[in-house]
Amino acid sequence: MAPEIADAIIRVRDISVQFGSTKILDGLNLDVKRGEILGFVGPSGAGKSVLTRTIIGLVPKTSGRIEVFGVDLDSANAAARRGVERRWGILFQQGALFSSLSVRQNIQFPVREYLKVSQRLLDEITMAKLGMVGLKPEVADRFPSELSGGMIKRVALARALALDPELVFLDEPTSGLDPIGAGDFDELVRTLQRTLGLTVFMVTHDLDSLYTACDRIAVLGNGKIIASGSMADMQASQHPWLRAYFHGKRARAVMG
């Protein structure tokens, strides 16, 4: 088991998740430190998204304990849960923008629900968020169906950041983006982490993202964390999947 990390923002202890008779996660332990960008990798179907969704509380777990901001989400009452939910932001794989609301309304939605602020401030903050994720103000009045894939990701990130969360979950943020867009996105996540002091939990397959954006990498396999550490640790590992992943053709192209 990994040594206890004192300042853990997410603490996952011994969790198992089972769908029917298939065990997806099997006694998994994970800590995410405050202020770090954790890259989370693993083979397709290993349960990366399941773990993310379990931490967020969308997938019920069979056993184990999850603490976010030191709050155990199982035993917390509704108010404490809401308190936690207000402090995190989630970027879903497909964006999950509300299709009947405009970009502006999508970003304002969580703010409007949680804070009583004037429409003027709402509009200004929306523009600030759009600027932060690199979108032009003209996008504000478009609808999700009128946006490109990259723009949807950016708007979804802006919405995830709307309430200035301390923790953001990114589920494959750069998938479906062109390499330049993906590079910009990594840069953006880095900048936001620096400026806002974010903690980022990023599920990704993008070696470039792992290389440029992440402070630490955790690898999921057989329902457990099989390795975690810096990029150098990963490259030094002798685990067959890790070797294939970090020393494959594509990896060599990235690391040069």
């Binding site: 804070l115 602020v117 401030l121 509009d123 523009m127 999700p144 400026t195 002091g197």
Partner: protein, 377 residues
């Protein structure tokens, strides 16, 4: 310190320092906004105003923006208000919000008389477009049907059978139940009112003609429009939203042939069957009530029924069924393919599908009534 945010005013010579302190974060946004609005009134009161943020313990986008907003309103001409005491941690955040341009306000929608008239006009014109859309689809379906007739290998039997199960077999229980109850009600009401003239037995005539000619098929058609028409629209609509229909087209398949023809065919087969079952259930229901409530025993009921109705009533009912099915199916498919990207659009088109389906079914029924009356059936 991590407490409530404050904004103190400290006079310094001919200048004024606005000292921000505490946590300037989203949590306190309503309070912060008020404080900043008050401080904005100081614009121009002193020649030299600056904002001191050295005591701010926590800053996020909300706080940073409000400080930036304050800075902008205190700036007059060349006399720019300065921000002092910014810690290195937060300078990049402040730089970030400094680039924000004033927001273009969301355009408010005002209700005017011309606007309402405009909307009515558009809706009327839209009705014409709907009719053209339906005829367009009818043509496309007939063309696809012709192609399939010439090359029967293109016919999708499995799909048709699957839809037949969905719209016919699975609809049987609810259709039979509802028509049975309607039969009971017609019979009960008939007996109740006919009794005043001592004409109880004529309830059988009424029940037979009404159920076989009109109510049976009309009611079943309305149920099918609500049950299967909406399902077709929702299915096709969500396929359209996820570009599945475009995918089919690019693979060289005709969506009309693959998706719409089997659905339509299933509906055209299903509705006469359901209408027949419905009519029978209504007769049984009516007969039972006539027996229990009106004292017409089954033997008398059957005798009377045989005298009262001819095969014509039955055929009139059943001839209408496939036509109504075609109308429901075509409306549902047109609406399904018209769905755009949003969930709202899917809902709107599903509603339109059911409403239009029922409307056209009733119009068709009226047209048929005139037609059959004039040929004497």
């Amino acid at each position: 310190m991590n407490g409530d945010p404050t904004l103190e005013r400290i006079a310094q010579g001919n200048g004024l320092a606005l000292c921000a302190a505490g946590s300037w974060t989203a949590r306190f946004a309503p309070v912060l906004e008020k404080m900043v609005a008050d401080a904005e009134k100081l614009t121009g009161s002193r020649p030299n105003i600056f904002i001191d943020v050295s005591q701010v313990s926590k800053l996020d986008t909300f706080g940073a923006w409000l400080i930036e907003r304050l800075r902008r309103s205190l700036t007059q001409g060349d006399n720019e208000a300065k921000i002092a005491g910014l810690s290195a941690n937060y300078s990049s955040l402040v730089d970030e919000v400094r680039r924000v341009k004033p927001a273009p306000a969301a355009g408010a929608v005002s209700v005017t008389i011309t606007g309402i008239l405009d909307q009515i006009g558009r809706n009327m014109a839209g009705f014409g477009t709907t009719i053209i859309g339906l005829l367009d689809m009818l043509g496309a379906v007939l063309a696809a049907g012709g192609r399939v007739f010439i090359h029967p290998s293109g016919f999708r039997l499995t799909s048709t059978v699957h839809h037949l199960e969905q719209v016919c077999w699975r609809a049987v229980p609810i259709v039979v139940l509802i028509t049975f109850l309607i039969g009971c009600i017609i019979s009960q009401q008939g007996i109740f009112h006919f009794r005043q003239f001592g004409a109880d037995i004529f309830v059988v005539d009424m029940l037979g003609v009404l159920v076989l000619r009109e109510i049976g098929v009309l009611l079943v058609a309305i149920m099918v429009a609500g049950r299967s028409g909406s399902a077709y629209t929702a299915e096709l609509g969500s396929m359209k939203m996820r570009e599945e229909i475009d995918a089919l087209r690019t693979m060289g398949f005709d969506p009309i042939e693959v998706l719409i023809l089997p659905r339509l065919l299933a509906l055209i087969i299903a509705l006469p069957i359901l209408a027949f079952l419905g009519a029978m259930a209504a007769l049984v229901g009516g007969g039972l009530v006539a027996w229990g409530y009106g004292g017409v025993d089954p033997e008398a009921f059957m005798l009377r029924l045989r005298d009262a109705i001819s095969i014509n009533h039955f055929t009139v009912g059943l001839i209408k069924a496939p036509v109504m099915a075609a109308v429901i199916g075509i409306v549902a498919c047109v609406e399904g393919l018209a769905v755009e990207g949003s969930a709202e659009s899917l809902g709107a088109h599903t509603t339109a599908s059911v409403v239009q389906g029922i409307f056209f079914v009733i119009v068709m029924d009226g047209v048929f009534a005139i037609f059959f009356a004039s040929i004497g059936m």
